[in-house]
């Protein structure tokens, strides 16, 4: 049974955490793609920006959380979301909109976003320094140890407070986005524009408004993903940047332009990563007596070493794209 707990801690919980972060990030990437038809490379740094805003705000108002009994970072998250949304709209106005107005090919926008990445990362480093800092400024990270009510189980299931928040917020964000896209007229207008921008405009839909709304949503989601990631580990100026590639893999695996595909893709990639680096020999320990010796003698039965974790999303990407070239869900249109 202790082995099972080990599995829950290292695969179920760890995979859900990674999967949720990838999912929220990939939803933003996929929405931007479905409306503006380009891969937004600066998404990782928008996540970092959101987390950095939370760090600044939490340092300024360390007591903000005490009144509600939650970490200050979470109370201040909505403010950081608004600021990140503002930044996203601002970046669009300053850099992408002039490019679009000239009718450039999508690849030019992609390269433009690469420039924005470097700029944002440099700016954040300038103010935050290159080291890590905790988003828990004045409060403490709660760690829950749940002992399972079985005989002989010594190890508890360990889950932290930010992880619980992460699961909850991911669920709310995904359900909320779904209702927005299917029920509200603005959401339907977004779907219409991703389907046929010319017709959308000829039907009286203001495409500039839709673009701005897309950036607001993508910015808000990026702030959530960046903050919850930094709460789970710690804030670093390049933390989210390194998640960019798995996030893109998740968006593509799910079917680019499909928000639920992005969520599914996020969890597929997240779990694939954790399962690939999980040491399976632990699970085999109870069956030691009935297994051949060569299997029990091996100390580490992980598929790949932790240092090769980053390869896993690409492996998944290749497999899924061979099996189903448009992603798990048929992509391209919301």
């Amino acid at each position: 049974m202790n082995e099972l707990v080990f599995f829950i801690n290292n695969v179920v919980i760890a995979g859900s955490v990674t999967g949720s972060i990838y999912a929220i990030g990939a939803v933003g990437v996929t929405l931007i793609f479905s409306i503006m038809r380009f891969a937004h490379f600066a998404h990782g740094d928008m996540m970092t920006f959101g987390a950095f805003m939370v760090l600044l705000l939490a340092s300024a108002f360390p007591g903000a959380g005490a009144a509600f009994g939650v970490p200050a970072a979470l109370v201040l998250l909505p403010v950081a979301m608004a600021l990140t949304a503002l930044l996203a709209v601002g970046i669009d106005r300053a850099f992408y909109k002039p490019l679009r107005a000239h009718g450039v090919k999508p690849i030019v926008l992609v390269i433009g976003s690469l420039g924005v990445t470097l700029m944002l990362q440099g700016l954040i480093r300038l103010f935050s320094g290159t080291g890590g800092s905790s988003l828990y400024v004045d409060d403490r990270k709660e760690i829950f140890r749940l002992a399972l009510p079985f005989e002989g189980v010594r190890a508890p299931v360990v889950i932290t407070e930010p992880q619980l928040w992460l699961f909850g917020i991911t669920l709310v964000a995904v359900v909320g986005l779904h209702l927005f896209l299917t029920r509200s007229r603005l959401g339907k207008a977004m779907r219409a524009m991703s389907d046929n921008p010319d017709l959308a405009q000829a039907s009286g839909i203001n495409t500039n408004t839709i673009v701005a709304v897309t950036w607001v949503i993508a910015g808000g989601l990026a702030a959530i993903a960046g903050t919850l990631l930094s709460l789970d580990v710690t804030f670093k100026p390049d933390l989210s940047f390194f998640l960019l590639l798995p996030i893109f893999a998740a968006a593509i695996v799910g079917g680019v332009g499909h928000p639920f595909g992005a969520v599914a893709g996020g969890f597929v990639v997240g779990f694939a990563e954790t399962l690939a680096v999980f040491n399976w020999s632990v699970l085999l320990r109870p069956f030691r007596d009935s297994l051949p010796e060569w299997l029990t003698q091996a100390g580490n039965l992980a598929f790949v070493g932790t240092e090769y974790k980053i390869v896993v999303p690409f492996f998944i990407l290749v497999v899924i794209l061979v099996w189903r070239p448009t992603g798990i869900f048929k992509g391209k249109v919301i």
Partner: protein
């Protein structure tokens, strides 16, 4: 007679090719004006310029006396200027009915706050829109495919959907770009009746690009002939058909 659309000295070049050349036309309020001309005469380009889909190089466009030069298509929609597309456009991932329901302007649901805080109002408006969409879809004879994804409809059905879209809102001017192409003869009759009825009963003004001369003859008065980017001649269909210049342009020196 008052002009609802005035195109004044418009020029448009693609690269070195002067597609629209100092072109001026007027569309009278309440008329069904035909726009014909040989391939490459600039009909569709002129349409796209009027509809706000293409920027013009020089000149002015007036809608009911207001300057609408270079306004985006969505702004023109809200001023009552609608267009259909030569190659039928549709929201492929929505059903035929949902396609029609996308059209009506100025609903509260479009406003974010209204969508969240007054769901009752939004819902009743949606019910109204749905009722109208069902009427329209009956009218254009697509009732049996209303719940099919629009992307799966045939070319002719998509054309009908295009016309249906213009009936969802109170338009003042509708630009029809080869609405008859790919629609079968029986439906075509309905289409013509339909356009005439919208013109007579609802007061829609139509500007029609068409290659089908029968349809032009049945529907349009006056007819404008465009050649090499400017107006060659304008008049009733009889005048046009007997004009030697037009015969020359259409059939060449051989005839």
């Amino acid at each position: 007679m008052a002009a609802i659309i005035e195109v004044q000295h418009v020029n448009k070049a693609f690269g070195g090719l002067q597609v629209i050349n100092d072109c001026s036309i007027q569309v009278e309020k309440g008329s069904i004006t035909g726009l014909i001309g040989p391939n490459g005469a600039g009909k569709s380009t002129l349409f796209n310029i009027i509809a706000g889909a293409l920027p013009l190089d020089s000149g002015r466009i007036l809608l009911d006396g207001d300057d609408i030069t270079n306004q985006p298509a969505n702004a023109l929609f809200h001023r009552g200027l609608l267009r259909t597309f030569q190659i039928a456009h549709e929201f492929s991932q929505m059903t035929a009915l949902e396609n029609l329901m996308m059209v009506p302007p100025a609903q509260s649901g479009e406003n974010l706050f209204a969508a969240w805080f007054t769901p009752g109002l939004v819902r009743s408006e949606e019910a109204e829109v749905r009722r109208r969409a069902l009427e329209v879809i009956d009218f254009i004879g697509l009732h049996h495919v209303r719940n099919e994804l629009a992307g799966n409809l045939s070319g002719g059905q998509k054309k009908l959907l295009e016309l249906g879209r213009t009936m969802m809102t109170d338009a003042r001017v509708v630009l029809l770009d080869e609405i008859a192409a790919g629609v079968n003869r029986t439906l075509l009759g309905d289409l013509v009746t339909n356009i005439e009825r919208l013109n007579r009963e609802m007061g829609y003004t139509f500007l029609v690009i068409e290659h089908d001369m029968d349809m032009i003859a049945r529907l349009c008065d006056p007819v404008i002939v465009l050649a090499q980017g400017s107006v060659m001649v304008e008049g009733s269909i009889e005048e046009i058909q007997n004009n030697p210049e037009v015969i020359e342009a259409y059939f060449g020196a051989a005839s």
